[in-house]
Symmetry: C2
Subunit: 564 residues, 2 copies
């Protein structure tokens, strides 16, 4: 595929996910009391990489990085905001979706990673509507097509201006030969309950539907004539705000800039560090526990703000995952270690769990949940290494539970420190509910899916310091080699992983990580994304005569008509 | 991909799915009272197409066509059989899975279609264990690797000979760079509840696991030393038979040869006909209702046997779906019509529903259910055309509910027959329970997923003759054009469909057809198969240096190490 060659420059460009509202090029964020307005105003010449213009409020990864930042800040910095209006600053156009020329010119891995991040951001908006009392309202003041309409679908309520021309549409299939892959297909039928035959019709009609019919089919919640538009949007925003559980009179915390060092071999933050080993294709990640005791009460969490350990660590881990996923595609195995005091980690956990009704604590828990979910859908092999001095307890034990395999040292490293305390893992309250996976179950419940006795036994040991034999016996870790076998077992596991097909590993992990029930989220990342990946890769979409490449040329795509 | 060229001959060879035990080349079917033994004994030189040898009981589509025939006949011809032992007639080898050289040389569409059929056959075995009282017992008298172990996973109970060398394994990922895509990944964690980290380890260990460890990890249910093997298998089979709900003293019906005419333009059976239009890329399928009234009682069903309308029609439809899917990949849209008397169709339905506890009636209902499920996972656009003279009632109305879109004529064709009775659809008992989709819901419940009022309204009209406006109002059909618009609307729908990317249509339909909950079955056809399709298509598997092509050459695959 020639697109691979065309896009070599993009794959090599380093992408940073850190930004601030002051530097946004594509969004205007305005907060007015309990209502915030997030207006899309894409700078055509502000593409993340050269080679395309972001016309008609179309987006690329750079636009979405700003959206993600805004959604995060609204949650932490603006407890007063109860409704977020997502609209457009451009006349007659809400958003035209992902930029086609960017997609056509992008390498397959870039497209897939881009879609994953946009999906995560939209899921995060739904998470805010559902769990933060910060409800997203899509105010479509112009046509919302493709990814633009999918952005609206992630909002809790959709208003469409009724001017006989502004439409909602999913033209991916008829115009581009791909799917509405940012949750569109799933949300239409599973969230908005549009009948499947209507959904089929709608998704093959490139111009989409306007006005009353769009509302009749439940593609939007309401339509409003232009003359009444501004008032109606404000009124609806106020109505939604009135139903919010957001606190009164609270003060936000500032998302201070993340301190980060980054070079070709390492990424460093305050609590999280990563060493990049290009030879073995691995990243050595270490997460350090709190440096001091937990604050005495919830007031201390507010006082510390972005410096509070759990939040600081989560932000760092979140940024690291995004950085490595985007910039280091050839480092296929991530090795997770922790270092610190298990009791301190648990004390921070208890402080959060005891104050879960505090708005900031709620946000911290939800953010940790989302970050762990990001790990679950990361297409890298994840291995947890539980050694003396580690602190895999409660919230940090989730990392081991998220891993594809875990190794806990039985005993100690005799040559390094014969007097060390053997490594333990500790199940905590954090493992028993507040941090569910996308499938709606905790990682423990997913691990023991279909084996209730094992789950009960693990939960029954909450708070116990579980050395390797105990943890292995309970099924909480995969293997418990001793000092003699440790290095060899690890080396073999890592070398093997590096020798396997990266594609097959991605598919294997995407299946095994999600036993049990499915939700809209898992359907988007499993079923929908897997189909989209396949379709993106087929010549009918991305080949020289494929629909993505022919779009806008005036020529029709030349399809291989075989049904597969 | 050069494999496309290499495989042109296969794509052009015509495949028939009709066979009989007398002509099996690869299986031995022996029935001994309540226990049947299905012994795999693959003829190395009996490949369906030239170019590979079926060594070590490896299989291709031809082997699986025989298996499917055997499973079907056991259900209908052998009501006395309560346990089916699936074993191997070869020493030390149970089954090595799908033949690698066949996979390596096959076109992508062939591989995907082959996997779909093998999945359906294995699901059918599970259906027999769960609903027919005909329980499948895998007796692994030698190594079961890859698809061989996946065949065992579809059985209700797995015995493994304990001879220190016979193993179960899933070597697809380490050896071939693809997934265990015939349900393996899903059944390991979701059916057998193997812990995900163990599943990960097992699926990367090409030699698999033997004996006690395989049992400890629940990869098999029991292991038995060679000396006790034969007795233990018979004893276990007898135990399982003792728990069966199969009838005593019943006589089977004969699956008489299907009468079929087939040429380049048409397929014809007694009740089902299909006209192939290569110009428009469509197939016109007509299903005719019963020619005579339903028998007075269930005795008549037994007397008529394979001639009983519902069974005869289902067998024909089943064969047609398999024929078209395999042999006519460029005919992307199937148009379904029915012709006959709605009351007669409903009378046959009522006879079946009233006698659902009869073993033969139960088998007919289950077979109709499986055939409709086959339609649900068929990668063709399905359109139902409801015209005067049609009989879309009850069981046949399921065809319209399975379609991506349905059109019901409002009024009559004035120029053809102004005095005709307008077309009706009739919801029947068959639409309200006995024919669930793979997601566990009826097609009606899936259609109205999240809209209980609409479902209740539709069920409330059971038995009513619903003309076009009624049916459209209830949401039971997509569109109800009149005589004036009918031809144009249809032409546009069909031409549009033919103009779209076949790949994107496949993905769209696979998502929209399955709103709501997921089951092991939908996870296999959605999540797992979609990932497998993608992986199969990637150069890391199927490219000239990919793992599938390098297997057995002594050379290592050369992987693009980028994680996608």
């Amino acid at each position: 595929m020639t697109s691979l060659a065309m896009h070599e420059s993009v794959a090599l460009a380093h992408v940073e996910f850190r930004t601030t509202p002051e530097t946004y090029r594509h969004w205007r964020l305005e907060v007015d009391g309990e209502i915030a307005t997030l207006a899309m105003d894409v700078d055509e010449r502000g593409g993340l990489v050269p080679g395309y213009e972001l016309k008609l409020n179309s987006y690329d990864l750079g636009v979405d990085i700003e959206l993600y930042d805004a959604v995060q800040r609204l949650r932490f910095e603006h407890p007063e905001v109860r409704t977020v209006i997502v609209t457009s600053a451009k006349d007659k156009t809400f958003c035209a979706g992902a930029n086609i020329r960017m997609l056509a010119a992008s390498a397959h891995s870039w497209k897939v990673n881009f879609c994953k991040f946009t999906n995560e951001t939209r899921n995060g908006m739904e998470d805010a509507s559902a769990h933060s009392g910060q409800v997203y309202l899509a105010a479509l003041n112009g046509t919302a097509s493709g990814g633009g309409y999918e952005l609206a679908l992630a909002c809790d309520h959709i208003m469409l201006i009724d001017d006989r021309s502004s439409a909602v549409s999913l033209p991916e299939l008829p115009l581009l030969g791909v799917l509405p892959g940012t949750g569109g297909l799933t949300r239409i039928v599973d969230k908005r309950h549009v009948r499947r035959d209507r959904a089929d019709y709608f998704s093959t009609k490139s111009e989409g539907l306007v006005g009353k019919k769009a509302a009749d089919w439940n593609l939007v919640d309401e339509t409003v004539p232009r003359a009444k538009w501004a008032d109606a949007v404000q009124q609806r925003a106020a109505d939604l705000a009135g139903r919010s559980s957001r606190p009164v009179g609270a003060t936000g915390i500032e998302f201070t800039p993340l301190t980060k060092t980054r070079d070709a071999d390492a990424v460093g933050y305050r609590y999280v560090t990563a060493a990049l080993d290009r030879g073995s294709g691995t990243v050595d990640i270490t997460i350090r526990g709190p440096e001091s005791d937990a604050p005495a009460d919830v007031g201390g969490v507010h006082d510390q703000g972005a410096d509070f350990w759990t939040l600081a660590m989560t932000r760092e881990l979140d940024d690291l995952i995004l950085d490595l996923r985007t910039n280091e595609t050839e480092l296929g195995t991530w090795l997770f270690r922790t270092a610190g005091d298990v009791d301190r980690v648990l004390a921070y956990d208890v402080l959060l769990l005891d104050n879960a009704d505090d708005w900031l604590v709620n946000e911290i828990l939800l953010y940790l949940k989302r970050t762990l979910k990001r790990l679950d859908v990361t297409s890298r092999s994840l291995i947890a290494l539980i050694e003396p001095g580690s602190c895999f307890a409660g919230s940090l034990f989730e990392i081991a539970l998220a891993a594809d395999r875990s190794f806990q040292l039985f005993g100690v490293f005799e040559e390094i420190d014969p007097d060390a305390t053997p490594a333990v893992v500790i199940v905590g309250g954090m493992n028993a509910g507040p941090l569910p996976m996308g499938n709606g179950l905790t990682r423990l419940a997913t691990r023991f899916y279909g084996d209730d006795d094992a789950l009960t036994a693990a939960i029954g040991r909450i708070g116990d310091r579980l050395e390797a034999d105990d943890a292995e016996g309970l099924g909480l870790v995969t293997f418990a080699p001793d000092d003699i076998d440790w290095a060899d077992e690890l080396r073999i596991a890592i070398e093997e992983r590096a020798s396997f097909s990266p594609d097959a590993l991605t598919g294997l992990e995407a299946n095994y990580r999600f036993a049990g029930p499915e939700t809209i989220e898992t359907k988007i990342f499993g079923r929908l994304s897997a189909w989209q990946n396949w379709i993106f890769y087929r010549p009918n979409a991305s080949g020289p005569d494929g629909a993505l490449r022919k779009f806008g040329t005036g020529q029709r795509a030349d399809f291989d008509r075989k049904r597969v």
